[in-house]
Amino acid sequence: MYPALTTTTDQDMLRRAEIDRSLRHPVMFFLTSGAAWLAFSLLFGVIASAKVHHPGFLANHSWLTYGRVFPAHINALLYGWGMQAAFAMILWLMARLSRKECTAAGTILTAGCVWNLGVALGITGILSGNGTGMPWLEFPSFAWPVLLVSYFAIVVWPFIQFRVRPQGLVPISQWYILAAVIWFPWIFITANMLLHCLPGHPLMAAGINAWYKSALVFLFFTPVAVGTAYELALRETGRPLFSDALSKLGFWSLAIIAPWAGMQKLAGVPVAYFLPYVGAAATALLFIPVCAAATNTIRTIAPSRETFDTSAALSFTTAGMICLVVLAVSLVLLNLPDSTLPLTQFSLSGYAMDIFALYGFFSLVMFGAAYFIVPRVTCRDWLSSRLITLHFLFSVYGMLTVFLVTLLGGLHQGLGQEDWRQPWMVAVSGTNPYAVATTFAWCLILFSNVFFFLHLILMWLRVGRHAFLPTQPGSAHGSIHDDEADASDHAAPHHATAHSH
């Protein structure tokens, strides 16, 4: 016998179920197409990395030359996987936090298809030898307006949902998600207009490109992932946020500091003298918002040890936040203008920090959120906890390899480069071990994600275990969750109160 549906908790659960149902197609579309691009990107990442130490590998085809494979890999990672995973999070979080259903699923799905088409055409453009040669913006110049228009068609609905949300305090995750939604067009349009449409000095174009790389990470991927991490921590543990003040400090310090970062890559370049130093200072100061967010999240999760042990979402989220802290510390230590910046400016450390930001931090949090959200929108549970564990462990091993060998190896490589008494070939041969390690790390990451893709496809095909989930009435007891099931099931009574702030 189900209890009468008159209590607030049951109404909340019904509402959440309705919202999840309305979001099923958009969220699953973005997660699965994003995962497909992730697979492509990882494969090309392995190929590209292998070519650094074995240049003869697959060397006879123009489509597979290193100079095209690497941009294809990184652009697929950013715009194929990263943006689409972010879309899934934005749609789900904003709908849930505004208590509004998704009413524009059709438009969003169409726009998502256009996005995928844009990315596919862009990648084809790169591989066929029509890339623009601007790092992270290598898509041929027709692609960016297509992506921009489909972006608007996807994210304007969450913006509207925010505006029409019911009265009440806005949780910090919602501010982060809204900020990310607004920041991305600002940086994307600025960079593309100044690089493609409005002619300027070639060196300043390179500077704006460097700024865009940093801004994309810290003004889009970071707020999306931090907002998601906060939300996962709160929902999975059912506990209140550790510190409200710290969350506000984290957000506004990110908003103020992050737009200044990025130009430290132009140290020694004949641009305005203050630009690289401002960039380096801002990159170092990013330590503040990062530590605020990481401390807040981890301190929220920490008291719930037993939940942590059984929750995939929390494991991934915590690993992601740890990677974020490692990234912030590395950014400080490796960008000191007089000591380490000359060494790391043109070494593998830059790429390693990109991997840490995009995979170690952003993607791990996205995986955690996927493990949380997908059961809710598909009304199925994940089939195997072992697959999830393997996904987690190998991703962590990959990130450890990247940290120890590439981040630190980049310093060693830089020392070799700066040793001007030796001929250049000495520096080249010194780079080889670190290139091999990078390939190894990508192989580990690809291996870990094979399990994720398998799992996701099964869920997409609705082959998961049918389960009563917390968002449906009557699921408070007797559910047939797997071991790694989230604890919001147990925390449901607290859940509503924790979220009525």
């Binding site: 208590r99 509004k100 608007f152 304007v156 913006f159 509207i160 505006r163 029409v164 949300r165 019911p166 009265q167 607004i182 067009p185 600002w186 349009i189 600025t190 207009m193 100044l194 409005l198 002619p199």
Partner: protein
């Protein structure tokens, strides 16, 4: 849920506010661009300016020394002189067309013993290399050695 917060009008208005928010910096950039749209001089332009000035000076100097009016005034006089001058027959052996009757007539005349009238050639003197060097163009990057 408060119905006055969520209605189609607010949603419609928010749609356009959202688009405006996304595009605010693009519009700002367009405005700034509009006030800075004259293309600045490139290095080539700056260097070309000097060349154009030189060209203008030369054209002006030429125009000053030989005006169009002077040329116009001289044309009738020269034209008349050319018209009055008659072409005269000039006899030169190199003007004889091969195969013409004149050439056949010349071939019948007895040959002249030319070796007897020509002096013997001078002994072969080896060419002086330094004199040859004087006439050669300088090799690039090297200074011309003074003779």
């Amino acid at each position: 849920m408060d119905p006055t917060r969520d209605n189609p009008i607010i949603r419609f208005a928010t749609f356009w506010w959202a688009l405006g928010t996304f595009l605010v910096f693009a519009l700002l950039l367009a405005v700034i661009w509009f006030f800075n749209r004259t293309a600045p001089d490139t290095l080539e332009d700056v260097v070309a300016k000097v060349r154009y000035e030189t060209k203008t000076r030369i054209v002006q100097a030429q125009a000053a020394s030989l005006t169009q009016q002077a040329i116009d005034a001289a044309i009738p006089t020269v034209a008349q002189q050319l018209a009055l001058a008659k072409p005269a027959a000039v006899e030169k052996p190199e003007q004889v067309v091969p195969g013409s009757p004149t050439a056949a007539k010349l071939a019948l005349t007895p040959a002249v013993n030319t070796p007897a009238s020509e002096p013997a050639p001078a002994a072969q003197v080896p060419l002086d290399p330094t004199l040859m060097d004087v006439g050669k163009p300088p090799t690039p990057g090297k200074e011309r050695s003074k003779p």
